[in-house]
């Protein structure tokens, strides 16, 4: 008996040693908010990330160190320092808030650690402030909205009233839309920027928008604000006369359920839609639903693709910070959202943008794709990678 136990223990120890030597090849710091207003997004990204590692059978090849950025720049900065200096990670993945990305940019660039941005969309991060070490697989604010301006003008919308929360991303989204919409012959007849995070009652603004009698309203809202906005837009009876358009975050699968029937008929543009009819996406959606019992949102895909680009880089033989950074910008594959390439000029993702309408599907809501703009690429906007 004792012999057997000894042997068993020995075997276990040997096995664990072997596992240990095979594991921890690449150490990854996941810098996501797990508390505060963006916690739901952090969770989606984390779920998508872990799923991609497991799907590739490479969960053992990566050691994950998780830190809560709280979506606050000073906290995100402190946690990024900890991950890079103390935990010695080979790559950092995550960052939901653009403000956090802006805060850590110089530190990441200076310490030459590859950062895979899984959400934050500020245009400068892959524009004037781009870095060889910062690769973005999510989207840029301009990338999501620019195609929508052209698309709406082409579909007969002439006069638009625009609304967004009053912070950097809100302005960038509306500016990108306005630029392409006016270039295509449309006119933005009015815009309101609502106090960010403080506006729950959109009634006053909706009344203003209605009085301006536009052909359509175009907005960017996300999270709780998106839910309130879509519901209130409907309850004021505006949807019948003035169709609602927006950035796809407005009717993200993550909260469209909370919006309910108010979201029906809202048309938005985004880099991922779960009803995309490709074999890659169908397999992804089925696997995600089986694991988490809900359809994946764009945030889950961003987490998934963050892991995919990392896996591709490691599979290509990259080891250590410098090599991974080098390999990341060469990654290209077809994933759930369609073809995905990292632009060598800016390190921003090049991807399709889908225009989709939220439609009723029995009692539930689903997304109907009504337009596809292929391989949308941002201009360098002053980016020089070196």
């Amino acid at each position: 008996m004792r012999k057997f136990l000894c042997a068993a223990l020995g075997a276990c120890a040997a096995a664990s040693l072997m596992v240990h030597s095979a594991a921890a090849e690449t150490k990854v710091g996941l810098l996501l908010p797990t508390s505060g207003n963006y916690a739901a997004l952090g969770k989606e990204i984390d779920d998508g990330f872990v799923m991609a590692l497991e799907e590739a059978g490479m969960a053992g090849d990566f050691t994950l160190v998780r830190e809560d950025s709280e979506a606050k720049p000073p906290v995100g900065m402190a946690k990024a320092r900890k991950l890079v200096l103390q935990d010695n990670v080979d790559a950092v993945v995550g960052i939901v808030s653009s403000a956090v990305l802006g805060a850590v940019r110089d530190f990441i660039d200076g310490s030459k650690v590859p950062l895979i941005v899984a959400n934050a969309g500020n245009d400068e991060a892959t524009g004037a402030n781009c870095s060889k070490y910062i690769v973005r697989v999510s989207f840029s604010n301009a990338q999501v909205n620019r195609p929508m301006g052209t698309w709406m003008a082409e579909h007969g919308v002439k006069k638009v009233y625009a609304m967004a929360p009053d912070y950097a991303a809100g302005h960038q989204m509306i500016d990108a839309f306005t630029a392409s919409f006016t270039a295509a012959g449309g006119e933005v007849i009015g815009a309101d920027y609502t106090p960010f995070g403080k506006t729950q009652d959109f009634g006053p603004y909706l009344t203003k928008a209605k009085a301006a009698s536009p052909d359509a309203v175009f907005v960017f809202y996300a999270g709780g604000e998106a839910i309130s906005f879509v519901k209130q837009y409907d309850s004021f009876g505006l949807k019948a006369d003035i169709p609602l358009y927006g950035s796809g975050f407005l009717t993200s699968p993550l909260y469209v359920k909370a919006e309910g029937p108010a979201a029906i008929g809202v048309t938005t543009s985004l880099h991922y839609v779960p009803t995309l009819d490709t074999p890659e996406n169908q397999a992804f959606v089925a696997a995600f639903k089986a694991k988490f019992d809900r359809p994946p949102s764009e945030y889950a895909v961003q987490g998934y693709d963050s892991a995919r680009v990392l896996i591709e880089a490691v599979k290509a033989g990259a080891k250590g910070r410098e090599a991974i950074a080098e390999a990341l910008s060469k990654v290209s594959y077809t994933g759930p959202r369609g073809p995905l390439t990292i632009d060598p000029a800016t390190n921003n993702v090049v991807q399709n943008i889908y225009v989709y309408e939220t439609v009723a599907d029995g009692d539930a809501l689903t997304q109907k794709i009504v337009g596809t703009i292929n391989e949308v690429r941002d201009a360098p906007n002053g980016c020089v990678l070196k």
Partner: protein, 290 residues
């Protein structure tokens, strides 16, 4: 600027609706404060619990009206629990300790809500009879918002009648004026405090449940609503029902019309007003104690 009467009437209703929601919240806070000298920052968290309780009750029972009845009771139960475990022991420990403890309670309650209901915002359907717009005085306005205005006005009326016409109201007023003397006159002040605290919690729960179909329930609503509510209480005057009414109307209308007339300053206006009131009348516009 758009100058049609319809436009301004709609904005007036918007202001009224916001005022009523603020009133449901601030009246509980101000009376608890006035009567018990207790700063309950967790009041906003109770509002959030009310919203979640409403969402859950509506989803499981399938009835908005039942949810509207259950949410205040559920929140009152939470309030009783807090009273028995924490607040009762903090009654005489001074405002700084009370602020710290109830601020801590916000974090505890918010995290409990996140554990139970998750981070993703939850929606609540409006009852069929109140969904969609109706026409009032030639203006098309959401029926549900009119309902919110109605409920707020009804609570306002009921509270003023109770406070001014009944014996309980007289006891509460006596307690606010001078609790030691009220106790000498044979009023069981502690029991009165407890009753008032429960009513305040129930109103916060009602506010949460009634707001959920318009705003949806999110963990951030606990802190989002706290600051406007505190501003209402400070502007109106601590402990006074009339102050809470005046304060919520002022804050509601300034926020609404500020957003329309001076959009760039909408979020600052209310703080300017607060500063102005604190300089001119430090005890609020209509303080409970003369």
């Amino acid at each position: 600027m758009v100058a049609s009467i319809d436009f301004w009437l709609t904005q007036f209703l918007n202001g009224l609706q916001l005022s009523m929601l603020l009133f449901l919240l601030s009246v509980g806070l101000t009376i608890i404060f006035g009567l018990m000298h207790f700063v309950n920052l967790a009041h906003g968290a109770l509002y959030m619990v009310g919203a979640y309780a409403g969402v859950t009750a509506a989803a499981s029972l399938g009835s908005f009206w039942l949810a509207l009845a259950i949410a205040p009771i559920a929140v009152m139960a939470v309030g009783m629990f807090l009273y028995a475990t924490v607040i009762r022991h903090m009654r005489r420990s001074g405002p700084m300790n009370q602020v710290l403890v109830t601020l801590g309670l916000i974090f505890v309650i918010v995290d409990l809500v996140r554990i139970i209901w998750g981070d993703i915002a939850l929606g609540m359907e409006q009852p069929a009879i109140l969904s969609g717009p109706v026409e009032l005085l030639g203006v098309v306005y959401p029926a549900y918002r009119l309902f919110v205005i109605g409920v707020g006005a009804a609570v306002m009326l009921a509270l003023s009648l109770v406070l001014s016409r009944t014996q309980i109201g007289a006891m509460v007023r006596a307690g606010v004026e001078n609790d030691a003397m009220a106790a000498c006159m044979g009023i069981n002040v502690e029991r009165l405090f407890f009753a008032v605290f429960c009513v305040g919690c129930a109103l916060a729960g009602l506010g949460g449940a009634i707001a959920a179909p318009v705003f949806s329930a999110t963990p951030s609503m606990a802190t989002d609503i706290l600051i406007p509510t505190l501003i209402v209480v400070v502007i109106g005057g601590l402990g006074s029902l009339r102050g809470a009414i005046a304060g919520s109307l002022i804050v509601g209308f300034i926020q609404t019309f500020g957003a329309v007339v001076l959009p760039g300053f909408a979020s600052v206006l209310i703080y300017v007003l607060l500063a102005g009131v604190l300089i001119a009348k430090p005890s609020g516009l209509l303080p409970a104690r003369g």
